[in-house]
Subunit: 346 residues, 2 copies
């Protein structure tokens, strides 16, 4: 019986998402959104020189005549991409930066897989100036010649990985039978829409990514940073290096914490957000414990650090991709409440 319902939901959800995104013109929706301005830019990066490589002959079209391609020369590499929207009436007391996690792009904060407005529009409608970015190597940031500039090679996720690793289903084998965790908030019928937004990632580009994030903070900060997973690792490191450029940090299930002493962050309020089912396996339990530990250490050294456990707040069933799940508005509301309590919104 439960399986029947789940399969039915699976079959219907993509239709609903399609209707919502494609036919927005004809559907009743939220009230109009007044922007003062919108735009985008690339920030950071450097020139890289490649030399000593052989000239290639490449057909620019299958079956076309070969063209001589000399890969040697100077490239512009390792910038990141940022799109921003300024609301007509600004209520946020600083720009709000939304940083994605590993293997993702800024698209994670746009329309949800089930076709609703994501956090980009949610926070914009509440008067925040919102910046959504693609980290170095991801999405519109582009990637550099590899292995010449980016060492190693990109990694790709097979379709089972996010389902089984990000707490949609109960671990290995669950994707094959589309088994979800009890009460999962993930819109399982729209899973393919999630998979379409994953992009490859290198594992050797941390410093280049961090450098561009620093350049972004120097350009638009001081700013509030909401950062997910790998993005939270960069946010914490960037805040430790440039505390004056960060007004607050919201870390969504951060997966690494760096080594800098937490006292450096005494002036920056920090909220660590944890979803549900973190006892699911030893890896998530370790991430949970480390998050609690960092919050305790920051608080002990005089910082304003808090842990927001979504299930303890009554928001049950969230996996690692909380900004994309069915109750994404409620999770945003909880974060917004904390930001308002820090006097960052009025």
């Amino acid at each position: 019986m439960r399986w029947t319902r789940r399969l039915l939901a699976s079959a219907l959800a993509p239709l609903a998402a399609l209707r919502a995104a494609g036919a927005a013109a004809s559907m009743p929706g939220p009230p109009p959104l007044a922007l003062r301005a919108m735009g985008s830019f690339h920030v950071g990066g450097r020139e890289a020189v490649i030399s000593g490589r052989p000239v290639k002959e490449v057909a620019l079209r299958p079956g076309g005549p070969p063209v001589r391609i000399d890969p040697n020369g100077t490239y512009q590499v390792e910038a990141m991409y940022v799109q921003w929207f300024a609301p007509a009436e600004e209520r946020g007391q600083a720009p709000l930066l939304l940083w994605h996690g590993g293997g993702m792009t800024g698209a994670a904060y746009e329309t949800t897989p089930d076709g609703r407005e994501g956090w980009q529009a949610w926070f914009l409608r509440r008067g925040w100036r919102v910046h959504v970015s693609d980290a170095v190597e991801r999405g519109r940031a582009g990637f550099a010649p590899s292995p010449e500039v980016f060492e190693g090679e990109p990694l790709f996720l097979t379709k089972d990985v996010p389902w089984e690793r990000f707490r949609i289903g109960p671990g290995p084998g669950s994707y094959a039978v589309r088994a979800a965790l009890p009460g999962s908030q993930f819109p399982v019928g729209a899973y393919d829409a999630l998979m379409r937004q994953f992009v490859p990632r290198w594992t050797t580009t941390d410093e280049a990514q961090l450098s561009a994030y620093r350049a972004l903070l120097e350009r638009v900060g001081p700013a509030v940073v909401i950062a997910h997973a790998q993005g939270a690792y960069f946010a914490l490191r960037a805040a430790q290096e440039r505390p004056a450029a960060v007004r607050a940090l919201v870390l969504l299930e951060p997966v690494g914490f760096g080594e800098a002493p937490p006292a450096v962050l005494a002036g920056v309020p920090v909220l660590v957000v944890h979803g549900d089912h973190l006892g699911q396996d030893p890896r998530w339990a370790a991430i949970r414990d480390r998050g609690r530990d960092v919050v305790a250490r920051l608080a002990a050294s005089g910082g304003r650090a808090e842990l927001l456990s979504l299930p303890e707040r009554g928001l049950r069933g969230n996996g690692h991709l909380m900004m994309l799940e069915r109750n994404s508005d409620a999770v945003a509301e909880a974060i917004q409440g904390w930001l308002a309590a820090q006097s960052l919104w009025r």
Copy 2:
């Protein structure tokens, strides 16, 4: 003396662009922009299975412990990315789709390198529902395992290539001395901002890109398509295959025309737009002549096809990247006038 002015402009322009994009909040600007809704989606693509490849051991962080990565399995590949904005008051009679050229992403239609609003905002402010996309393999569309799914390897542009190939400077050697064509509209001081938005491209993915463009037209069409260079090649092919899904085609210096008989397009008004300096070298002259020829053939077979030569319209100095150049608003205005004349805007 001319060189001094040019160098000075080079030094100052990035500052102006930076100020414009980063500090939009505090600057007087255009009137507010009222949106009914905004969002994004991925469309098209397929599953691809990789098998028989060896399992790898990869450190997810430099110096970190190796993790077992099995590349075999099922991947979601070859979707494209689309971001859309619906104005509160719609005046366009169909959605407007902006398709980028080779090596670029939708960012080409956002803020210009010199920090002004690009065509995305320009057409949105005039009441068009605007869709800006990243083709398969580019930007937020992501790329697939290569060479397993995408044959061959990606190509990258050295910094001299766009300058010398896209009619900013007078051909080979001009980038080294930053020599520009007479009256060039390109904001040469913001050249690095242009280079940051170029992304790698494969040369083997035409059919996958076309397939996703078709899926996009099926989802949001009938639509007006404005398409640049390689994008224009896809637009013409897609329109030949799905004429009922296309209300009008605006082809910005199209670089390929396919082989389908032009009569198929009799019901679709077509505008081919050419910039200045097309006699610059034999390659551009051939592209110019082919453009004229296609317009003549379409018109002869009863189609509504026109050639818009920007210099003949008094808009001089445009290279291949006309949507990014200093007179981008004037070029948009010329296109808008043609669309209105086709009764596609009121």
